[in-house]
Amino acid sequence: MSNIPPYSPLQLHVPEPSRRPGEEADFQDGTLNEAGAVRRPDPVSAPADMRDLAFSLIRVLDDNGSAVGPWNPSLHNETLLRGLRAMLLTRAFDDRMYRAQRQGKTSFYMKCTGEEAIACAQAMALDPKDMCFTTYRQQGILITRGYPLVAMMNQIYSNEQDTLKGRQLPVLYSARDYGYFTLSGNVGTQYCQAVGWAMASAYRHDTRLASTWIGDGSTAVGDFHHALTFAAVYRAPVILNIVNNQWAISSFQGIAGGDATTFAARGIGYGLPSLRVDGNDFLAVYAATQWAVSRARSNLGATVIELYTYRAAGHSTSDDPTKYRAAEGKSGWPLGDPIDRLQRHLQASGALTQKQFEQLSAEVTEEVRAAGAASEAIGTLGKSRPTVESMFDDVFAEPDWRLAQQRKEIGV
């Protein structure tokens, strides 16, 4: 006997978020467990023995700011303070460049507000020589690795000192010497390239890893599937991060299939170890990344990490999130702010006083201000730019006759 009722006409299902503008934000989520509650398998364990980790949430920092449970990476205070500083610097940088865009100094900007722990903690858990294939919201990697802020700003202003010669939309950085692969702007395309880079590193018996990031929305792109397939097949030394910030511009994560299961669970079908991590918990992000790094460096291959977070700001300077999602989102987000949480932890343990925190905040603000002044002195968008003849360079290793002719056509 079947419990299926008599057939009725078929109906198309289009997922919708539980709340829209004007409604109170709703963060009821069955997968938010207590800090410290998730087990930490030995990194050499078989992926089949840890599928539960794709459906729970690795958290270390509890509501009191204590670091608890098996995933506590037990970092030195010095390391934690470095992480806090990197996150503060990233946020200060974002704030300044967002304002600069609003003041008409550049065309476009993208903030990573609320997601700073992801890029900063992961950059610290990786080796500086590991190659990062990022999305446009991991600027914290460059900042953590000490890439000059002025150089980032010059790129955003497309000015004459822009190392990318004014060719890229603001924030689409490239910094080979800092292990930062040229950012595309097409979402998802870098994901399987990272796998290829990692395969090359393994082919050459190198020690370097690749790490790559994709958004919840972009997991729907075919490149995501290619990357997980290739990573699993060739056991590539790569970390496949999914930043689930719940919003792809105005589309909630259900539009990418997030209602049906977790994004981490995507990895299970490929036989990859898959972790789901509190992305606003610096310690949890660090520990999970360190775990994945140790697997990859031991020739055990790739790990999928879903970093569960919340895009506190708009997608970019070109959209207004209050038009499509509940306005109280940021303050109501139960996993809180990554900077506040690490600050509270450091203060609770006595490693940081309020005064020291204020000093640190002032210091990073000043660092960004000084870099801003230096970059603006070179020039903002349209006030300064690379030489126009450079427009014809780097299409090929050697220019062909067409480009020589076309350059002449504009008289340079």
């Binding site: 990318l164 060719r167 595309s184 395309t189 990272a194 590193s201 290739f230 290793a397 062909d400």
Partner: protein, 337 residues
Amino acid sequence: MPTMNLVQALNSALSVMLQRDPDVLIFGQDVGFFGGVFRVTDGLQKRYGLTRCFDTPIAEGGIVAAAIGMAAYGLRPVVEIQFADYILPAYDQLVSEAARIRYRSAGQFQVPMVVRSPYGGGIFGGQTHSQSPEAIFAHVSGLKTVIPSTPYDAKGLLISAILSDDPVIFLEPKRLYSGPFDGHHDRPLSSWAHHPASEVPEGFYSIPLGQAKIVRPGSDVTILAYGTMVHVAQAAVRDSGVDAEILDLRSIVPLDLESIVASVRKTGRCVIVHEATLTAGFGAELAALVEEHCFYHLEAPTQRVAGFDVPYPHAFEWDYFVGPQRVVDAMKRVMVP
């Protein structure tokens, strides 16, 4: 000197480069143990090892993306897309990524990658095993597109493609793999054995990209062709007795404009032949360049002979395939005083 068909010459090029440079590696669907559906990679895995020549999942976009990552790392991957008809899932990676990585990173990263793919018709392959997609690559800034027509050229050009620091689309006319097919499908097949360009040195040699070859000097009309159409053009000249000069372009990007202009200015007439569909095909670009550079030397309007603007039809292979008669007809049109 050994005699090789096109497949053997390509295999020899790959073997030479695998031996010469440990950074060269090959991957694609069925290229490993089996040696490729057209046997181009036959024996390479056995000879050079599993990691130098291996099979991939059926994911053209993934194959090319992985190759881009490898090339950015510093390797020189040579990937095979089993049929050029299947290259479209990789088009985004080729156009938005491979072609622009040098430019958008201002030279920080480069993509020295070769994408080999059998292309073209004449094999009763239907819509999905017969197409000629060269124009969609020529249109993209930052990609090179190479198309050989003989075993000797194929080896030298493939070696140059692998040595190139830019991404190269290397299209192999699959109708030529076993013989110099001239479009006379109703006549006995000829093999490469009796063709002078089947004499291929065993070792390393290269042919620079961007140099057309005069296959047949002539004075009455210039025929611009590449791939299988070079042989079709030769048959058309034999059939008609017209004293045509046949230029095998060998690569369309980079393009040897100088040789084209010199020939058309000499003959005053031009016929362009390609298998690909007519509209917005590479012939349109060639016709525009001939007009721009040779207008005052032209005795007649340039003619294009190309695939009809329909999908490649299985039952009508020889009605659709550009054969010698259509080239003869085009020559007659330009020869009218």
